[in-house]
């Protein structure tokens, strides 16, 4: 147990150090998410009246697209630098690697959200409800990252890796997307959002996918 924690910390610290130094992932994700947000403005003519109905969807689509960029890099960088083999030859628990990469991705997505959400509120003149919103954001990113980290490991070994990750990821995370958009809508006082126990759905989904990820991840990596 202690070894597991130490190894998760080691990988996480290493990735955080690299990211802090290069800022590669965060900048790409941020710029792209914001770009998508602004593009929506031109594509949809988002007047305030329809914002409460359409807003959450716009926000989460932008976040999802931007996050896919970051998720895709999770193992691409290890493969490009040739360090993935170094990790595999070490006595590194594969589940620990999964958890570390998962937490790293959650962290990256959190940074993107912390910038995108206030910006979204400003650009489209929407009132925010920070309390419940934070929980929704946390549960949503955990679910995306759980599946995304697993599929990123798979996609990075294929020929069309930029395409493969979204193709695998988007259909599978439809429940999360539905859940977070509806929950965000409710939090923002939307009248069109369905009043169902979305947080329970998200929680259940997250639990299932983190477990599945930790269990099957080893098979995605070894040769």
């Amino acid at each position: 147990m202690l070894t597991f924690g130490r190894q998760v910390y080691a990988v996480l610290a290493k990735d955080a150090l690299i990211e802090r130094r290069t800022k590669d992932a965060v900048s790409a994700m941020l710029v792209f998410s914001l770009l998508v947000l602004v593009t929506f403005n031109f594509a949809l003519d988002l007047r305030t009246e329809i914002m409460s109905a359409v807003g959450p969807g716009v926000l989460w689509t932008a976040v999802l697209l931007g996050s896919t960029l970051g998720l895709g890099r999770t193992f691409a960088i290890e493969r490009e630098q040739g360090t993935l083999d170094g990790l595999l030859m070490a006595p590194l628990d594969r589940s620990a690697l999964y958890v570390a990469k998962l937490l790293g991705n959650v962290g990256l997505m959190a940074i993107v959200l912390l910038v995108s959400v206030p910006l979204f509120a400003v650009l489209f003149d929407v009132a925010l409800n920070p309390g419940p919103l934070l929980i929704i954001l946390a549960l949503g990113t955990l679910g995306f990252a759980a599946v995304g980290t697993l599929f990123s490991a798979i996609a990075s070994h294929t020929r069309a890796r930029e395409v493969m990750l979204p193709v695998l990821l988007f259909p599978v995370i439809v429940p999360i997307l539905i859940g977070v958009v509806q929950a965000t809508g409710l939090a923002l006082g939307s009248t069109t959002a369905r009043d169902m126990p979305w947080l329970s759905l998200l929680l259940g989904f997250d639990a299932i996918y983190v477990s599945l990820g930790a269990l099957t991840f080893g098979h995605a990596l070894e040769d």
């Binding site: 130094r21 630098q81 083999d85 170094g86």
Partner: protein, 266 residues
């Protein structure tokens, strides 16, 4: 019956005699077969490494040298065969076997944006090394890289990166060192130092297997040599290797011929 890992820092080298034939084998690979799609890259290879010995692995390109090393490093699973490292079944308890292995490959396994110290600290934590900072200082001194310990690895020359890669491999004092063509791209000085380090590691009780194309250099660094051809062991030379001519002859031999009688232990 656990094998002893080298417990002294390299800078305090001692000079015991050659291979310890009474100790259990440091690494024992038996009938390794490895399939790639339909083709067989390895067709039943046996490798035994004893503590205190250094073995060179030769063979033309495509003979299976890199594949063999990757199998021994537990990077890829053999299609069939057994692998025991320091008494641990590497196929069933890969984690425990990995603690006893140190690998230097074609890639450095180093993160270009991090410094040598940061790289070693990362791996040190994975391996769970006690007194990590002290150990990092020691290995960097052993490979003579302490002066550039805080420059990002991407700013170092190929030879320097190779040295840090070596430091990474010996950081956790593995029982077995595996090196895949470690001499490529190194100048004469660096090659000398590398040969010396390989010799010292074996002298300290470790076991070393290294693949190479450079026969004269390998003759200096190895006690015996194994020649691989088309996925099989074609010949075994030594111990001891008297001079490079032994190896030239073995290398030029046709496929599947044992060039001299070998003791059963090999």
């Amino acid at each position: 019956m656990e094998a002893q890992s080298p417990s002294l820092a390299l800078s305090q080298a001692i000079e015991p005699p050659g291979p310890d034939l009474d100790a259990p084998a440091a690494l024992n690979a038996s009938r390794i077969v490895r399939r790639y799609g339909g083709a067989l890259a390895l067709r039943g290879v046996d490798v035994v490494l004893r503590q205190g010995e250094s073995v060179a692995l030769f063979g033309p390109n495509g003979a299976g040298k890199t594949t063999l090393i990757r199998v021994l490093a537990t990077l890829i699973r053999p299609t069939s065969g057994t692998l025991v490292v320091g008494g641990e079944d590497a196929l069933r308890n890969a984690s425990r076997a990995r603690r006893l292995l140190g690998v230097v490959g074609h890639q450095t396994y180093l993160y270009g944006d991090l410094t040598p110290v940061e790289n070693l600290r990362f791996y040190g934590r994975i391996y769970g090394i006690a007194d990590l900072d002290a150990r990092i200082d020691t290995v960097l001194r052993d490979v003579e890289m302490e002066h550039r310990a805080d420059s990002p690895v991407r700013t170092l020359s190929r030879g320097m990166q190779q040295r840090v890669a070596l430091a990474r491999a010996i950081l956790h004092q593995p029982l077995v060192l595996l090196l895949d063509e470690p001499d490529t791209g190194l100048d004469d000085d660096a090659q000398e130092r590398l040969a010396a380090l390989i010799r010292r590691w074996a002298d300290l009780g470790g076991a070393v297997l290294f693949a190479s194309h450079h026969i004269e250099w390998a003759a200096r660094a190895a006690d015996r040599a194994v020649v691989l051809r088309e996925g099989r062991v074609a010949s075994i030379v030594g111990p001891p290797i008297r001079d490079a001519r032994d190896l030239f002859e073995a290398y030029r031999d046709g496929a599947g011929v044992l060039s001299r009688a070998v003791p059963a232990a090999c």
